[in-house]
Chain length 209, copies 2
Amino acid sequence: MATPNGGRTRIQQENRERILTAALDMFSRSGYRGTTLDQIAAAAGMSKPNLLYYFRTKQELYQTVLQETLDDWLTPFAKLDPQGDPASELGAYISAKLAHARINPKASRLFANEILQGAPLLEDTLKGPLKDLVETKSKAIRTWIADGKMVPVDPLHLIYMIWAATQHYADFETQMDALEGTDSDTRAKRFEAAERTLFTVLFNGLKPR
Amino acid sequence: MATPNGGRTRIQQENRERILTAALDMFSRSGYRGTTLDQIAAAAGMSKPNLLYYFRTKQELYQTVLQETLDDWLTPFAKLDPQGDPASELGAYISAKLAHARINPKASRLFANEILQGAPLLEDTLKGPLKDLVETKSKAIRTWIADGKMVPVDPLHLIYMIWAATQHYADFETQMDALEGTDSDTRAKRFEAAERTLFTVLFNGLKPR
DNA sequence: GACAAAGTTGACCATTTGATCAAGATTAAA
DNA sequence: TTTAATCTTGATCAAATGGTCAACTTTGTC
């Protein structure tokens, strides 16, 4: 049979999608070892042997899910423009990261889970593409500082701070829910307040006096 | 036999300690489900049945380890003194949290792991003692703001930001190691730079103009 | 040194779980 | 409609794992 779409049958496309969604759901909640193929198969509405027809092993499925979330993770960072000015560039980045935490918290939690376990599958990406990107963006920040557009800070740790503060809203959602409540109105206001607070502290904090 | 020390034999005390250390090691690295009793027993240098002589179930062992780390977690937060001034109080808190992340990263990672999984065992602590503490400290921050000692920010989200930025150095150590390297000198300098950056951004950011 | 309590472990069990396979059902091109 | 490829699953397997048990050893008190 020819390869009608991306090398995949209609059924293949639909089922792969359903499996990947179910897998992200389960893996982000319970981690790799805490998730069983039976759970994923049930969540995807099919039998376990059928799931294994699409992904040969649990590892292969996990790696596929992880890779997809990684791409999302890197994209907004790559968009940071050294030509722009720090306030608008970092502001846009913070907004994008917060939006990602709000819209796709599971991806963030899957990533956090993997890092916590020592990132056995992420090492190459972290030491390669991510490291390159971090070095590029650090240079941009150093230029901003040299041009007097920003207070002098260690670029690397500024980046860490932004990652930490934004991803926290996805990774520690459980804790925030326990402190504030879980209704959707509370959550929506949470992200507004988060953005306001981050903007206030960071912009005030980075503005040269 | 009488209860010579805290209701525990000499051997009991030693072995409990060894088990709890090994358990924190393993649980913080691999999570609850990712850790096996065989691994913990081996790390503690004893047989699995012997381990189960001290802790009746895996759950019981896990809960004991978790509870111990939780106490450490709460202590520095409770010490935040509303009578002091924001810069020194928040500064001391940030230093304490960073020190905790440096000295006991495993405790932080265990906690993060549990929150990521939905904190099934932490719900009571989060909604009780932690929530009370957060409300008390939020009030203190609001007073500082009202007294013009701080720029107006949402206290809750300022607290989140400090938690996020400090714990990040324990929870995402793997990522930082991949970006910067793993030698002890690198790590030591990392924590110095972290403190400097956090102080710069937060104090500058929170100082009223 | 005797002896009861405490401590220790090899062997074993039941369940869970990732993976296989053969047989049957569905799909789509001719 | 035919037919070959694709899709689906019940039954099953081997390994891993939490937990039990009976038997043995060590410890501490008299």
